[in-house]
């Protein structure tokens, strides 16, 4: 009895079409297929750039992934219009689409044979469970689903490669993490230098500035009370402060000059006296 094309399994006639083993297989396959779309979307989204650049690469190492482009109940043993990209189509199999371009997919038939269900329609070898009948009963279709399958397969390959590369890089980074000794010492030097500079500025500079401000407060108040505008007072204070700083610099310069002169005079005659 030929099962109808309708993919629903709810009618009694359809149930009778399947044996118990096939039913179990179909349930398992459906369970796997439920999340395949999400998985593939994740992979495809991750490796989209690599997939577009690399083209087709067929070295798949993790089989048992199925991509059902059309998620519906007709996936089970009934023909669906599209194929999974991981569907390994055996070479020389009696597939209705074997004469189409791009058929069969190279190098996948021997790898993606993780869940071949031997209870499915014969003539389709090395297929995941339930996919064999799906492929066997597939109606005539254009090459675009096959191209889509190839595309998804290539993306999966790239994703697996990238995962391997990332793992290798991580290992290399961990192995090469032995030379931050130089960085650590330099960083420590920078930190210590920053700490010392901050302490110096806080202790010597800020204290000096604060004290000066406090000294002019009473004078400023007295000048304000006498009627002088605040702006004039501020400008005058700034000017006098700068003049005071200049005078202090001149005094320090002159003092150092005279002191060094006297020291040279003192040292000079002693050097002349010694033989």
């Amino acid at each position: 009895m030929q099962c109808p094309d309708d993919t629903s399994l709810n009618t009694p006639e359809e149930r009778t079409c399947l044996s118990s083993a096939q039913r179990r297989a179909e349930i398992r396959r459906r369970k796997l297929l439920m999340n395949s779309e999400d998985r593939m979307n994740r992979i495809v989204g991750f490796t989209k750039a690599e997939a577009e650049n690399n083209g087709s690469s067929r070295s798949v190492t993790a089989p048992v992934f199925h991509l059902d482009l059309d998620r519906s109940d007709s996936w089970s043993t009934y023909p669906s219009p599209r194929l999974s990209p991981f569907l390994p189509e055996a070479v020389g199999s009696s597939h209705p689409h074997s004469d189409l371009p791009g058929y069969p997919l190279p190098d996948t038939s021997e790898v993606l044979c993780g869940g071949v269900d031997k209870d499915v329609t014969p003539g389709v070898r090395q297929r995941p469970r339930g996919e064999a009948q799906l492929a066997a009963d597939e109606p005539s279709h254009s090459g675009s689903p096959r191209r889509g399958l190839q595309k998804y397969l290539s993306r999966f390959d790239d994703a697996m490669k990238l995962r391997g590369q990332l793992a290798n890089e991580k290992q290399a980074q961990e192995a090469a993490s032995s030379d931050p000794d130089e960085l650590d010492s330099f960083r420590l030097f920078r930190l210590v230098g920053s700490v010392l500079l901050a302490i110096f500025v806080r202790v010597f500079v800020c204290k000096y500035l604060v004290e000066k401000k406090m000294q002019t407060t009473v004078l400023t108040a007295a000048l304000l009370l006498s009627g002088i505008p605040a702006e004039v007072i501020n400008r005058s204070m700034d000017t006098y402060k700068k003049m005071g700083d200049v005078f202090a610099d001149l005094c320090v310069y002159f003092f150092t000059f005279i002191l060094s002169h006297e020291i040279l005079l003192l040292v000079g005659p002693e050097e002349a006296e010694t033989p």
Binding site: F204, Y208, F247, A248, C251, V252, F254, F255, F257, I258, H261, E262, L265
Partner: protein, 170 residues
């Protein structure tokens, strides 16, 4: 040699004066401790007030009102006495500080005047006049020696440098 060390003598005197000035608060408090003999009395009064307050807290007002009131009067009296004592001590402290400061300024003025008197006519040191041109006249005041450094200029410079240095250190 004595003439050659004039600059050093002036520098040393100015440096000591400035150092003494920074230590004035310490000196005044030390003198106060030495001259004021009733510091112990104040300490005893404070201790007594503490004891009475402890006893006052332990006594129940409802049960022993008379004792409670008596203690409270004693505490108030002792506190007033302590306040008076602290006021007089603070006044003495301020007076001592003022006297020490005045004494210091008088000593400093005397030292400066004596230095100026000594080196009025002679410069503390002499350098080639071209080195300090065009300010040689101002620097040489009041000695008038060409290329010399006068006592007033050297005093001002040393005071400024000493105050900056000691301020930085303190």
């Amino acid at each position: 040699m004595a003439a050659g060390c004039a600059w050093f003598l002036v520098l040393g005197s100015v440096f000591l004066c400035n150092l003494f000035k920074t230590l004035l608060p310490t000196i005044s408090s030390f003198l106060l401790k030495v001259l004021q003999k009733d510091a112990e009395q104040e300490r005893d009064m404070r201790a007594e007030i503490q004891e009475m307050k402890k006893e006052h807290n332990s006594v129940s007002m409802m049960d022993e009102f008379a004792r409670y009131a008596r203690l409270e009067r004693k505490i108030n009296k002792m506190t007033d006495k302590l306040k008076t004592h602290v006021k007089s001590r603070t006044a003495q402290q301020a007076k001592m500080k003022w006297m020490v400061n005045i004494g210091f300024y008088i000593l400093q003025a005397a030292l400066m005047i004596s230095l100026i008197w000594k080196y009025y006519a002679d410069p503390v040191t002499v350098v080639p006049s071209k080195w300090i041109a065009p300010l040689e006249q101002l620097v040489a005041f009041p000695s008038g020696v060409a290329g010399g450094v006068g006592i007033t200029c050297w005093l001002v410079v040393c005071n400024k440098v000493a105050s900056i240095g000691l301020h930085t250190i303190s």
